[in-house]
């Protein structure tokens, strides 16, 4: 029975409906995932080289000291992005499957996710190239077992949080509290997370059976708790929408993705199928390579690096958003007379630009590993762009009144250009630099960056308000803009 359910899951991954949309999209997705896994595997295989320690005890120790950050990142990534598997069991609720089997199946597929897959890819190559050579087979196997147990614990902890959020929405605050506590421990109390992490994983390497047993017990408890929660939650709620699981309905992430997917696809097609926008995309790629060269070869000050990272992390957003609504001028009438949600369209753009900024980090990963690129500085710039920069550009774009013919070439073509766009971009780049200068005159650099991060998150948490202001402005200027778009 379980075997059949698992086979169906494999089929659903291979025959994913979203990949049917476009052949190019399918190829790009497959290549991206394969490239990412290869990169992670390669990183594990050459970890000694990239950490400049060689395949030695030191490289394992260094890896152990940063493992805590990897697990924390994984926890938040899974919490935010892991799909809700409850949907997969909907068809089986009609069939004569025992409820316990369905829940067991749900628990099994929960531990299978891209983060775990990536981590295991790394662990395998890292173990072959380094851990086995330094610590021998016995200790290495115990170490690997401990890490795998931790990965599973992490997956089920995320599931537990998601289930609890389904029961009571304010549980989300608990996650914020945990994140804040960690920041306080690190920044205010100056407790070294690296040392804690190194000690913990060194105990695994030295074959601490008690620790392994403790991890097994934790995993067991999490499984039992999740099992009970799911058992109570999985049922049809006929009074609401038939065919929708209660727990699934409570989780908003799927419907959010579903509602925004078509708008995101429209944006991707707008960029990839029109000469003028494709030209901008190529310019962005040129800049990305140029900055790679600069970062690799120049030792820049923190302020210059920050400017570079602001431009870099927001390069797609800046290039495309500054002409926002002018790109859409050729179908703005369509947007105006249909039940087209401009707000969702803007959100989709926002998500795409931010995601591209994150994906860019993968390209720069070798520089991060070599210590030539400060990842915190980059993420601060990305967060700033996402929370402040794009909103300012979106707002200023409501003043774009020129039509842009999408089929024209980008070169020697000033159609759609205006001075406001240039000034806006300048302000967006200079503003955070001034803030960083001010903060670093009072605090240390890491503290300043954390203050900036907190400010960005605070501003981002009011995103609905900013979208509302942008839309109000757009509707106020709608008729003026449309006259320009028809010229």
């Amino acid at each position: 029975m379980l075997y059949r359910l698992l086979i169906n899951t494999c089929k659903s991954i291979v025959r994913n409906r979203k990949l049917d949309v476009d052949f190019v999209f399918r190829i790009i997705t497959i290549l991206s995932v394969a490239y990412l896994l290869f990169l992670i595997f390669y990183l594990g295989l050459n970890f000694g080289k990239v950490s400049l320690t060689g395949p030695s005890d030191d490289s394992v120790k260094w890896f152990n000291s940063v493992l805590i950050y990897l697990f924390l990142t994984g926890f938040f990534l899974l919490l935010l992005f892991q799909r809700n598997n409850s949907k997969d069991v909907i068809p089986y609720l009609h069939l004569p499957f025992k409820r316990n089997k369905i829940i067991t199946y749900l628990l099994m597929i929960t531990s299978c996710n891209f983060f775990t897959l990536g981590f295991i890819s790394f662990l395998i190559s890292f173990s072959i190239s380094t851990v086995f050579q330094v610590y021998g087979l016995h200790d290495s196997l115990l170490y690997l077992m401990g890490l795998l147990l931790l990965l599973m614990i992490e997956s089920y902890l995320v599931l537990l949080f998601k289930n609890l959020i389904g029961l009571a929405f304010p549980v989300q605050l608990l996650i914020l509290v945990i994140a804040s506590l960690l920041i306080i421990l690190k920044v205010v109390l100056h407790i070294s997370m690296e040392e804690i992490s190194a000690d913990f994983f060194q105990r695994l390497l030295s074959g601490d059976i008690i620790l392994i047993l403790f991890l097994i017990l934790t995993l067991f408890i999490l499984l039992i708790v999740n099992f009970r929660l799911l058992k109570n939650a999985i049922y049809y709620n006929d009074s609401q929408t038939s065919g929708v699981l209660w727990i699934f309905k409570k989780t908003k992430s799927y419907s959010f993705i579903n509602e925004h997917f078509s708008y995101a696809l429209l944006e991707i097609r707008l960029i990839t199928r029109n000469k003028r926008l494709s030209g901008f995309f190529i310019i962005a790629i040129v800049f990305i390579f140029l900055f790679y060269y600069i970062i690799q070869n120049e030792q820049n000050s923190i302020y210059l690096s920050f400017i570079i990272f602001i431009i870099l992390s927001g390069i797609f957003g800046y290039l495309f958003s500054q002409y926002l609504f002018s790109w859409e001028s050729s179908f703005f009438d369509f947007i105006s007379v249909r039940t087209f949600s401009v707000s969702k369209y803007l959100r989709a753009k926002h998500i795409i630009y931010t995601s591209l900024g994150l994906i860019l980090l993968l390209f720069y990963l070798p520089l991060v590993i070599q210590g030539k690129m400060d990842i915190h500085l980059y993420l601060t710039a990305l967060l700033y762009n996402s929370s402040i920069g794009y909103f300012i550009i979106f707002y200023m774009a409501t003043f774009n009144t020129s039509r842009i013919d999408l089929g024209n070439s980008i070169f020697f073509n000033m159609q759609g250009y205006n001075v406001i766009q240039m000034i806006t971009i300048m302000i967006i780049i200079i503003l955070p630099l001034l803030l960083l200068l001010f903060l670093t005159s009072i605090f240390s650099v890491p503290q300043s960056l954390i203050i900036m991060n907190i400010l960005s998150v605070l501003i981002l948490s009011f995103h609905r308000k900013w979208y509302k202001i942008i839309l109000q402005q757009l509707y106020r200027r709608k008729h003026i803009n449309m006259e320009g778009y028809r010229r």
Binding site: S262, L266, R269, L270, R273, N274, S330, F331, F332, D333, F334, S336, V337, R338, T339, F340, L406, G407, H479, M482, Y485, R486
Partner: protein
Amino acid sequence: MISIENLLKKFGSTVAVDIENLNIPQGEIFGLVGNNGAGKTTLLRLMLDLLKPERGNIKSKSKIIYQSEHWKKYTGSFIDDNFLIEFLKPEEYFDFIGFLYGMDTTEIKKRLEGFGTFMNGEVFGINKYIRNLSSGNKQKVGIIGAMLSEPEVLILDEPFNFLDPSSQMSLKGILKRYHEGNTKTIIISSHNLNHISDLCTRVALMEKGKIIKDYANNSDSMKEIETYFNSQIGIF
């Protein structure tokens, strides 16, 4: 269904539309005729809140159209290429419209089957973006897109333009079937008096932004309209 009160739209000093009162009840096929520059397209644009009038109101189901967006849910329209998303393929365009109106793929397919003869195998499965279609096929995509959500109000500007004779006949059949049951309101502007006379239950004649005649469609009114156009070029 749709009512216009004291409407004035100017482009500079030129009056484009000046209508004191016009009511289009539910279930009517309302035809707009007039020479170039008479204000037909401008009136349709005003009805879709694409232009802001200098004064006056347009109400749809008793609500002023530029004060809410309720009318978008039950109004389908096609005026020109700006109503198309030209970098999409026709299938993708219809899918997107379906998504906007909460239709699933099966429902979209089912509704598109009704336009099979009209499309004549020239729109689907040809792997072309809308921008690369001929003017006639673009026109077909726009009209189908407007009708896909089966709106209560359908607004079409010169729908017979660019269409070959067979497609024109096919479109006329589609619009007649669409109107069966008298629940749908259709507003059409056209230069082709034959089509207007075949389709419409009511015809308004526009000149310099004003509605100078408003007839129930019968043979006498069509003769009168023909006489009007003949008089414009000095034929009596």
